[in-house]
Symmetry: C2
Subunit: 204 residues, 2 copies
DNA sequence: TCTGTTGAAGAATATTATTCTGTTTTGTTT
DNA sequence: AAACAAAACAGAATAATATTCTTCAACAGA
């Protein structure tokens, strides 16, 4: 049932049991029915609790959505940082970014699906600022890490703004297609090809 | 006010005037407030009409959303087909796909923004099947067009499923970033770089 | 002009999100 | 252990919102 321990990691302990249960069922509902079509009542029914409990823990629907979103995003980023820590060159860093992304999506398809569809609602909602700040932070850290390698060995595509899009764009697009069912082959099968293609695209 | 004539093209004539007006204001609301936070009342207020008129034209909120979505998608695809028609080699085709995509987004930023955020809701809603069919069709047509060139001159990345992601992924990712404000430079400035990078990534 | 059809309005209804009040459980202090 | 405070939970009451329904007006074709 539990596809992973993202929730356990983030909301540990006995007292948070219902909180985790609500989130898990909400995740299911959002993915199955869509964010807007998911009602508090539907979530309530699936975990046999009360509206009072739900609102006590999350305040409102946006609160549930955001809690799920940030939990997923943090887990994904954590995986990225772990992989990236082991990289010793720009080339290895690029491979780490792509591989950790693909692996995470394949390991957590439900969470990944949710992440794609919840970004816009969260970006518009009351947690707008928190999301923006996190994105700026993450982006900056990644940029510094990449710059730290220098690019003596090969000449890298110039406008730095483009770099991240070139690296993650293809994988992201493929993962979306895979999660929506348009393509059948697991992203992991193309790990190597994605990384190599991207690396080629970077040398100018 | 009217960023383009997408609505005029799709719903021409005097009798569809209110229909277009409703759609235009709805587009504004969806982008400004988000899909879920946009109320029928807010749309009604912005075009000074009645709920009756709105429901007469679109049935429900999903109906407005879908009408906008398909209008935008068709316009985008139309532009792609025009550009692609002039291509005489695989290389030119790849350039056409990327350039028409970037140009369309820059020409229609509001529509592009909407397209990104409305995909999930539409994919879950009552027009689910229509969307799927359109996607399958578009994908197939594009695939056939690309295959038609053969690949005698250069060896192209093997798994065909990956091809589309490699081509459009970087541009898509960058356009999202640009529309969300994370990067400032217009995608059009990097037209050449995106196309060249992608083309390098394809040769294996 | 007549007549059926489409466009439009707004009140009435149904659905859903949210608040509020009270009760129980849990943890902590004495 | 008893008393207290804080957090967890339940469910009725309320508010916000989507949708339906009934009515009237504009319009095209006979």
């Amino acid at each position: 049932m539990n596809q992973s321990n993202i929730l356990e990691n983030r909301f540990p302990g006995r007292r948070a049991a219902l909180k985790r249960e609500i989130l898990e069922q909400a995740l299911y509902c959002f993915n199955e029915l869509g964010v807007e079509a998911t009602t508090i009542d539907a979530i309530k029914a699936r975990c046999d609790t009360s509206v009072g409990a739900i609102y006590h823990h999350f305040g409102n629907k946006e609160g549930i959505l955001s809690a799920l979103f940030f939990a997923a995003q943090d887990d994904q980023r954590h995986r990225l940082e772990q992989e990236l820590a082991g990289a010793n060159s720009l080339r290895e860093a690029v491979y780490s970014i792509i591989w950790s992304y693909l692996d995470w999506v394949v390991d957590n398809p439900e969470w990944a699906r949710f992440l794609y569809q919840a970004r816009s609602p969260v970006a518009k909602g009351p947690f707008q600022e928190e999301l923006t700040n996190r994105n700026i932070q993450n982006y900056r850290k990644l940029k510094e890490r990449l710059i730290s390698f220098g690019n003596d060995d090969i000449k890298i595509v110039q406008p730095f703004e483009m770099l991240f899009s070139l690296i993650i764009g293809p994988s992201e697009n493929y993962c979306r297609a895979w999660l929506s069912g348009r393509v059948k082959t697991s992203p992991q099968e193309y790990r190597k090809e994605f990384a190599e293609s991207v690396w080629r695209s970077l040398q100018s």
